[in-house]
């Protein structure tokens, strides 16, 4: 059935997608699971990151080598292929600059969007961000300097100067997983900090948090800045991995994929988000390996996959609201003290019975 199944190659490609999607899932979990903000426009920030990396890298390469052609023309793409791997310093420099700018710009857009939406409740935030995502896609589809409907291609891989493509892929997966580790560490630190508990307070009861003197709009805006910045980084990583971007990579369905990961893994839990991302990207990777071998089917396998994702979201919400890895209380020193007191009293009680 599968004549030459390259298990290690599969792991590398799965690892890359897992890393990118897990960063997105963790950032969405920060917004939804911890703060209770329904961000239905995740794909917009992901797209901003990807397009920022793509445009920065192709325009920078063409400018450095004094090529007059625009990057979306045939000559431009040929020139990009020619000069792409010429200088390790340039490739790595562009990669680093894209990551930093991707975080800052996507984060700032998220921050600015909170101004109109935070004053009008969770439902409107969702609608406005969803609309913003679609709007960004329409803009990209029609904006010629960013390649319009064809998008940008020939983005120089940061390790393009390494001649062996397999080694290149393996190095890149390490970079992506490294970023996932940093994101996860950062998210865990936020969750277990006093700020994280403010977030949970906002999620559980906004009015109560407001009455306790927490500036709810500012808290939410901060979270949207961080979450959008993380999504921007994921977009940058995607652009360099795929080496081309086009507007149809950023349809609203991508957002729902990320939502499905967070819901399946368990809302309010960073590890759950990673578990959800791992499961869904694994199924997706398997499907991309299997689908070409199925030949012509009556129903396109992709449609069946999406139907399952949709119904999965509903079923998990109805029958397993905690997800696979339910949220646990945070072990603060005070909590531990209470717990040990409870244990002592219990032990004391049982000891009394024995005596």
């Amino acid at each position: 059935m599968l004549p030459s199944f390259d298990a290690f190659g599969f792991l590398v490609s799965w690892g890359t997608f897992l890393g990118i999607y897990a960063i997105l899932a963790v950032s969405l979990n920060l917004e939804v699971g911890l703060t209770g903000m329904a961000n239905f426009g995740k794909v917009a920030f992901y797209g901003i990151g990807a397009y920022l990396a793509a445009s920065l890298s192709v325009y920078a390469v063409l400018a450095v080598y004094h090529v007059a052609a625009a990057p979306y023309t045939t000559e431009g793409i040929i020139a990009l292929g020619k000069y792409g791997g010429a200088s390790p310093a340039l490739d790595l420099g562009i990669f680093a600059a894209s990551l930093v700018l991707g975080f800052i710009i996507a984060g700032c857009v998220g921050y600015l969007l909170t101004y109109p939406t935070l004053r009008v409740g969770p439902a409107f935030l969702g609608i406005t961000l969803l609309a913003f995502g679609e709007l960004l896609r329409i803009f990209l589809l029609n904006y010629q300097p960013l390649g319009a409907s064809k998008g940008l291609s020939g983005i120089p891989h940061p390790f393009l100067w390494i001649p062996d493509p397999v080694l290149r892929e393996r190095l890149y997966v390490l970079v992506v997983l490294g970023f996932l580790a940093v994101t996860l560490w950062f998210a865990e630190r936020i969750t277990n900090s006093p700020f994280g508990r403010v977030l949970k307070a906002v999620r559980d009861d906004e009015v109560a948090a407001l009455c306790m003197g927490k500036h709810v709009p500012r808290v939410k805006a901060t979270v949207l800045f961080i979450g959008s910045g993380m999504a921007g980084v994921a977009g940058v990583l995607l652009a360099f991995y795929m080496s081309s971007v086009n507007p149809n990579m950023f349809v609203p369905a991508v957002t729902f994929n990320i939502w499905a990961m967070v819901i399946l893994g368990g809302m309010g839990n960073n590890k759950g988000a990673v578990v959800g991302a791992a499961i869904i990207t694994f199924v997706d990777r398997i499907l991309t390996f299997i689908t070409p071998n199925l030949g012509i089917t009556i129903i396109t396998p992709d449609y069946v996959r999406w139907m399952i994702v949709g119904i999965l979201i509903v079923l998990v919400l109805m029958f397993m609201p905690g997800g696979l890895v339910p949220e646990k209380p945070i072990k603060t020193p005070a909590w531990e003290a209470v717990e040990s007191l409870e244990k002592e009293s219990k032990e004391g009680g049982s000891g009394g019975d024995e005596a």
């Binding site: 939804v32 209770g36 329904a38 239905f40 101004y115 109109p116 939406t117 935070l118 004053r119 009008v120 409740g121 969770p122 439902a123 409107f124 969702g126 609608i127 406005t128 969803l130 609309a131 913003f132 679609e134 709007l135 329409i138 803009f139 589809l141 029609n142 906004e206 009015v207 407001l210 500036h215 709810v216 709009p217 609203p252 369905a253 729902f256 939502w259 499905a260 819901i263 009556i298 129903i299 396109t300 449609y303 069946v304 999406w306 139907m307 994702v309 949709g310 119904i311 999965l312 979201i313 509903v314 919400l317 109805m318 609201p321």
Partner: protein
């Protein structure tokens, strides 16, 4: 010089009527149940395809038969969703965000269910069902003062008028309508005073789903029917509902006219004066949405905190 002829105005009115039929039920359902229902998008698509499939397989080209079928299909879908998903979730005490995510999951499910069904049906019918141009001529073409008024326009106008009257009559004159309004005002109090909430909400859902599906038929005979037809209208429909504050039906209808005119006449103006390409039309809709949210918080404030006061204090 800007050239705004009567034809453009007529088209804008036509679109406004369809938008009103699409957006009013969204406001009605949010008002009553506090659910932002993304399945609304599917009602539109399924309504449009009720007309397409009736025409392709049974050869029915009477638009009113299609409208009736769409109403029943949309209403049935809506009631099924409520009974199987929304009601159990609300009973468990799920908040607004959870209900919204559940409706989003249903949206994705219904959307790709439609695609799968069309895959099979296209094979059976040996016809292209993915983008269908429907031009029913049930009503005659009328010429007023040298202005040709299309059959689709007359259909939209008559249907919108009938639906508006029906909605007014049901909500204002019948016991069910009073119960719906009572639940919208205060669900707990309504239940305490003996209103069978579950049944009344189901009636409301049937009306809301049916109306949205009828809007889908009206859109299909005006523009084109594709499995994405609901998705392409999502921005407009939600923007209009937000202008109505998701609470007032009449303001929602007004919002439909605002958005339709801003989109069509405003776009024509920008195109002729500044040369803005017409593909940037959604930006006008989005800007209108943002302006409404920023400038008139009470309009948009469906359950938000009064942050304005908070900011003034600081």
């Amino acid at each position: 010089m800007v050239n705004m002829d009567a034809y453009q105005v007529l088209t804008a009115v036509h679109i406004a009527l369809i938008y009103a039929v699409l957006a009013v039920p969204l406001t009605l359902s949010y008002k009553t149940t506090k659910i932002i229902n993304f399945v609304h998008i599917n009602f539109i698509t399924y309504g449009a395809y009720a007309a397409v499939l009736l025409y392709t397989f049974l050869g029915i080209d009477n638009v009113f038969v299609a409208i009736a079928a769409a109403f029943v299909i949309g209403g049935a879908m809506s009631v099924i969703d409520n009974v199987t998903v929304f009601e159990p979730l609300s009973r468990r005490g799920a908040n607004v965000v959870i209900l919204m995510i559940a409706s989003m999951g249903l949206w994705i499910f219904y959307k790709y269910l439609m695609y799968s069904v069309l895959d099979v049906l296209s094979r059976v019918a040996k016809a292209n069902l993915v983008s269908v141009l429907l031009r029913f001529e049930t009503l005659p073409r009328v010429v007023v003062n040298g202005m040709p008024i299309t059959s689709a326009f007359l259909t939209a106008a008559i249907t919108a008028a009938v639906l508006a009257l029906m909605l007014y009559f049901i909500l204002e004159k019948t016991a069910v309508g009073k119960a719906i309004r009572a639940i919208a005002d205060n669900p707990t109090l309504a239940e305490i005073s003996g209103i069978p909430r579950g049944r009344v909400v189901n009636v409301m859902w049937f009306m809301a789903g049916g109306m949205a599906a009828v809007g889908g038929v009206l859109w299909a005979i005006f523009a084109i029917a594709t499995p994405e037809v609901g998705d392409t209208l999502i921005l407009q429909v939600f923007a209009i509902a937000v202008i109505g504050g998701l609470t007032s039906l009449s303001r929602t209808a007004l919002g439909a006219f605002i958005i339709a005119f801003a989109e069509n006449l405003g776009m024509a103006f920008l195109n002729q004066v500044f040369g803005v390409p017409t593909s940037f039309k959604p930006f006008i809709t989005f800007s209108t949405l943002l302006i409404v949210i920023i400038a008139f918080p009470p309009l948009g404030a469906g359950g938000g905190l009064p942050y304005r006061f908070l900011r003034k204090r600081r």
